[in-house]
Every structure is written in C-alpha cells, then in structure tokens.
Amino acid sequence: MFHAERFIEKTISTLQNEIKGKALIAFSGGVDSTVCAALVNKAIGNQLIAVHVDTGYMRKNESEQVKQMMKNLGLNYRYITASKEYYHALKGVENPEKKRKIIGEKFIRIFEQVAQKEHIDSLVQGTIAPDWIESGGGLRDTIKSHHNVGGLPKDMKLHLVEPLRDLYKDEVRKVARALHLQVSERQPFPGPGLAIRIIGEATPERTRLVREACDIVEKEIERASEQGLMERPWQYFAVLIPIKTVGVHGDKRAYGNTIAIRAVQSVDAMTCHYSTIPHEVLDMISTKITNTLKEKVNRIVYDVTNKPPGTVEWE
C-alpha cells in the first residue's frame, strides 16, 4: 500500500539533496501544487518561492483565494497578473493542443523571468502520474499535452523537480491529509484553466460565460451534495460549446450558445464514470445558467460519457 507518512519523510530528504539554492514552485492552489509546496517548504524553508499566475482563465475569485492560501500557508510568494498576455497569445487559436502548448510555454516564460531576477535554478511542479501518462512520448500515444509536461518548451533551462510524479490524485490527497492541508478534498482544476472549457477560441467574452456557468454548476452541485441529494462528484463543471441553437426568450427569437454540464466519479482520473445528477438539480442548474447568461446561452446539455471513451475535460 501507499504510506503517506513514509512518502513524506523520504521525499523531504530527497528534496534536500536535489535542490541546490533557491527554488520556484508553480502554484495553482490545487491539491498537487499545494502538497508539493508544503513538502518543499519543509525541505528548504523560505528558499522556496511560490509563484501564482492569474492567467485570466481562472474561476470566479479563484486567484484572490489562492493569494490568501499562500499567505495562510506562510509561503514566500509572488502573485502575477498576466490575463492580457494570455488572451493575446490565444487570440484566434482553436486547436486544443495548440492552446495547451501556448499556455504551457507562457507559464514557463513567466517563471523564467522570476527565476532570472531572483537567481533561481529549480522549478518545482506538482506533476502527477496522469499528466505524463496522457502527455505521451516514446511508445505512449499523446492523449493530451498537459501544460506542465507536454506543454513545456524544449529550450527550457530550469531544473525540473517533480516529487509527485508517481502518485495519483487519491494518493496526493492522502499526503495532503497527513500534512493537515485544508485543500486535500478540493476538486481538480486543469492548469490551462477555463481556456480548455471553451471549445474553439477562448476569448475574454467566452471566458466570462463559462466562468459564470462553472460557478453555477459548482454551487448547485455542492448544495445538492450537502443536502444529501447526490454524492459529491470527483470533478464537476461547465463547458461552453459555441454552437448556436434557436430558443425563445420573452416571445422573441433567441439564438445563443450551448453549455454542457460535466460531472464525473473517479479515484485516479484514469477511468471515470459520469455522475448521476438528480433531475431536480439539473433543472436548477439549467434554469440558473440560462437566466444568468440571458441571450448568450439558451441551451443546456448533460454529458453522459465515461472515460474511456471520453476524457474528463473536453479538450
């Protein structure tokens, strides 16, 4: 079995040998990067600098919460706002692999700037097993290029430190619990963020729509789970499908986008079953999204695909 305490002890001593001088951690505020930051912090103390980038593709109020988290964890942190740069870099880009690679490269360029300024050689990432497995390479097919593996630019000079490479999410959560981190049960959120929850070009306007829809899906599903109407899914969110369909709003013709509701049950993200959401909850989500997003969205669909054949995220 996987023993969190043994893992923590072994990893801290490995990190002390591996990291010379200062290190930078790519900090999204999710379970993986938070566990990583806590471990590296134990190993090298404030020689670790946590960097959070607000890409413009974060969820509602997320980056502000992450900033607070970094404070609460006592991390030596830098907070970088780069949404304009990201929107600019993704202008006109529709291909999901291109999106992922542009975002991956952009992260590294920002980290390199910080590293240069502060004389840092090592980049710590919370990469876990599914990230490198799905990114492919050698015999393994590329399912999707995770921004932190397949999306890394080839000319990157920072020394990569990835202490969680062999772990799956359930094991990372065990480590998080052993370290008493509040973040241990947080649902996964991909590094490229909302950009890959928008099919097609990830414009600021579309981002606003999917951000609002994700917020509604999260809140309604969390409420329903707390009320015992359903089991809390492993991951739950909205996807914007910019396909227009006809509707009727207040006796007038509507012609707006589509939002898909996606929720899955999993342990390790390698196989997933779509979650059964009660109809009353779907109803609430559907009405709230269409009323909130008005003329922009007039159709809601419910994704009933397992992994395989689907993946959790749509891109």
Partner: protein, 191 residues
C-alpha cells in the same frame, strides 16, 4: 516478497498495473518492452505482466521483445489488452480490428468454473475496456475463459503453461474484481 515486473507496451494504464501490484505488496518495476529476457532473469523475476498499448496488434504491429518472453519465459505471464492480443497472435491465433470495439463499461461472462485466475470472481461482473482490436481465433493450446456481448474472447489461458490473456483491464479502479484477479495472478507467481 514476490517479484513481478510490468513490461511497458505504451499503455495508458501500464502505471496502474505497477500501482496495483505495489499496493498488493509485490516487488515491482516498469521496464521497457525492449528489455532482454536475460536482464529480467538476472533480477530473478517470478512473473510478468505484458501491458496494453497503442500498437495495433490487429494490424500486425510488433511488440518489442514480448515474443522472447513468451517463447522462453518459465514464469507466469499475464497479457493485458495489446499484451493479450500479441500472446494470441504469437501462438498462432488471429487478431483483427473489432467490428464493435469496446470502450468503458462492459459485462464479462466467465465460461469456465474455478480457473485459478478467476477464483472469487462471479460468473458475471463489470469490467472496463479500451480496445480497437480483438482476438478472433484462439491459438492452439489455449482455452477460452470469458466473453462479453460484443467480444467473443475476453479471457484465455494456455493449457500447459501459466500464460493468461485478458482483453479487459483488471488494473483500473472501475473493474469490479480487478484486484482479486491480480491477487490470484500473484498467487500463481508465488507457487
């Protein structure tokens, strides 16, 4: 501690096989499928898992050194998905693109009672799949152990050697009795 290695044929779930074995206290390691048999023998392994992978066995892909392990291996071998298909083709069976490929949840029906690999597994259970090809003709010296609605050969066994092939994936979380199947395989390797 029993030592069972996982041959990496490039599967999405190769690392899950490693994890399942490790969770069951097996001394295990993922090794590339180009590893020579004598290297494995040097480590004194007691069993081998041939992982799945993207190569299309139904379209005649090779699978590293898997042929050598099957020809000369004196230990139990468990072929999964592409590993299973390669085993079938290597011993003279036929592998073809599936008329109806299976992805995700499928019901497995066992055709043989009390096979050592399936001890404790009910006649019908849920397994998870992900395949484009399948074994369509069983090789000589093999018996069929299981089937599903759209795949005639879901599980097979060599009549003399401890060689097993499974089209489904016992290593993934959603396969109902996957861990039990691994426990049974480990038991065969310990004997």
């Amino acid at each position: 501690m029993v030592r069972i290695y996982v041959i990496d044929n490039g599967g999405q779930w190769t690392h899950r096989e490693w994890r399942t074995l490790r969770d069951l206290e097996v001394e295990t390691k993922i090794v590339p499928n180009t590893t020579l048999l004598k290297e494995l023998q040097k480590d004194d392994i007691q069993g081998l898992v041939l992982s799945g992978g993207a190569p299309r066995i139904g379209l005649n892909s090779l699978l590293g050194n898997c042929a050598e392990y099957l020809d000369k291996g004196k230990f139990p071998i468990l072929g999964i998905c592409a590993g299973h298909q390669f085993m079938a083709r290597h011993f003279g069976g036929k592998v073809q693109p599936s008329a109806l490929p299976e992805f995700g949840q499928v019901e497995l029906t066992l055709c043989v009672d009390n096979d050592p690999l399936f001890l404790g597994v009910p006649k019908k259970s849920i397994v998870w799949e992900s395949h484009n090809d399948e074994v369509t003709i069983l090789p000589k010296n093999f018996i069929k152990l299981g089937e599903s609605e759209n795949c005639y050969i879901q599980a097979m066994r060599h009549t003399d050697k401890q060689f097993y092939g499974l089209q489904f994936h016992p290593e993934v979380e959603h396969t109902q009795f996957g861990e039990q199947i691994f426990k049974n395989f480990i038991h065969l390797c310990e004997e």
